[in-house]
Amino acid sequence: MAWVNAIIQGVLTGGLYALFACGLSLMFGVMKVVNLAHGDLAVVAGYIAIGVITVTHIPTLWSFLIVVPVMAAIGYALQRTLIQASLDRGVLTTLIVTFGLSVVIENALLQFFTANSRGIGVGLPLVTESFSLGSQIQIAYLLVVIFAVAVLVLSGLQYFLSRSKYGRLIRAAADDQEAVQLSGADYRHVFGICAALAFGTVALGGIAYGMYSQLSPTTGTDTILLFAFAAVVIGGLGSLWGTLLGGVVLGVAQQIGAQVNISYELLAGYFVFLAVLVLRPQGLTYRRAQS
């Protein structure tokens, strides 16, 4: 029964990891940008949420209504300036620039908010309580909600990319920037929209993590970015639903590891990550063309 519990908990945390990962995957799939500041942006979103809640006293759960648009706007602006400027100088430059951005964000957070970790206190039964399945399985409502949000976000993204005008332009620009210009679309604007989506989703990830656990200035690189990478690689690059699958596999591996010995939690996750890299480097959901 304890094993079943571990698997259920793992699957549900996979939703959180998918929220971390889908933006990373999107930006790589479309712009070939590996955003090393991705995790830090989640932390920034979490801190903004804490600030917004303190100042405006809006219900904690609804803070995303402000934070997500703010982060999306930041994403668009960063893409149109810093990231596009580095893209123009070659894909490798983006790696260095986003790494630099990550260092800057982390140290700025340390400078202004100290190294103390803080959570986003919701104080609702939804977050603090859980329901029981049988005698040994306790499922936190919060994790179920986060998983549902992840599924909603991925469905929304999928729908947007496959059906909307801008979604089509994003996929077209990923294929051929020059040809998209010949149809009248400014690929830089299209990339900006794509970055806005990526930042918006990781903002949700940051808020969710702040509610589920604690955020500190270093959480972005030592937890969120690493889990996002692992989920993307396990699931398969450029596949949206793959990030959920990757997140679930990572979560289950961690929980099973923890079940064996609590200190094996992270190790087990990274072991699976490594195994996928060695045995199936294209990821679990690889297909020739993305949908």
Partner: protein, 264 residues
């Protein structure tokens, strides 16, 4: 450089719809296009011919805005577009069907056409109209373009440009890599396309094909103009000399092989 042929009695007449003035384009050290001028009048089929590396494609890409010229200007309907970005030029009515087709590989046929409509001008061309013109396309609209033959891909690329309702359609080497019978069929569609009020500037290595469809030809050699005029006003020998750079082509009986350059 030869003196430009007098343009009286050309189709349309009046002000040129598309004009290039002394356009010079460099690829690094190489001068790909050297002070080329051209005037395309409404309703014309203007054909640029020339051998590989003559600078035809570079010229077309420069007109579409994908290269910045070192000197000279590009004008659409008298308006200077030289410093305008390619997507703005597309929205103002310059549509390039690029060499190698450049379809979006992860999109279906219909999605490729929909990208073409994203910033379309108002006009007669719609996706349905493209389906009516190229009848095979509708049944296969949900297929990915990689599953199409080269000729089919080329027509999708043309369709994608048409649905934007351009004023000038730039066609870059339609015949590249296609079987002659397919090339014939694609060029056979040109009258239908022109009937909707389009103007065409095309680049073609296949001279006989170009001479068949063009109302005006312009021959390039190593980035320079070597011949310009209406197909009816130039002789096979002149075209051959201009194409291969035989500066002092001997007058008299045409050389062996010139038949292949000359249509019928």
């Amino acid at each position: 450089m030869t003196t430009p042929v007098k343009r009286d009695g050309e189709v349309g007449g009046g002000t040129p719809l598309l004009e290039a003035r002394d356009l010079t384009v460099n690829h690094g050290q190489l001068r790909a296009v050297d002070a080329i001028s051209l005037r395309v009048y409404p309703g014309e089929v203007y054909a640029m011919i020339g051998a590989n590396g003559a600078g035809k494609s570079t010229l077309l890409r420069t007109i579409a805005g994908l290269h910045q010229p070192a000197a000279g200007a590009v004008l659409l309907d008298g308006q200077d577009l030289t410093r305008v970005r390619p997507e703005r030029r597309a929205r103002q009515g310059i549509a390039l069907v690029p060499e190698g087709r450049r379809l979006f590989g992860s999109l279906s046929v219909e999605e490729n056409l929909k990208v073409g409509t994203a910033y379309a001008r108002k006009g007669p061309w719609t996706i349905d109209r493209v389906y009516e013109t190229f009848t095979w396309m509708k049944d296969r609209r949900n297929q990915r373009t990689a599953q199409l033959s080269g000729g089919e891909q080329q027509t999708v690329a043309i369709g994608r440009a048409l649905v934007a309702n351009p004023r000038v359609l730039l066609l870059d080497e339609l015949s590249l890599g296609l079987a002659p019978v397919i090339v014939q069929r694609i060029y056979g569609m040109l009258p239908q396309i022109l009937a909707t009020g389009l103007t065409v500037l095309l680049v073609e290595q296949d001279v006989s094909q170009a001479l068949k469809v063009a109302s005006h030809i312009h021959c390039l050699l190593e980035g320079r103009t070597t011949l310009e005029g209406r197909p009816a006003d130039v002789t096979a020998e002149q075209v051959e000399a201009a194409y291969f750079g035989l500066a002092d082509a001997p007058a008299g009986p045409p050389a062996e092989g010139s038949e292949s350059l000359w249509p019928g």
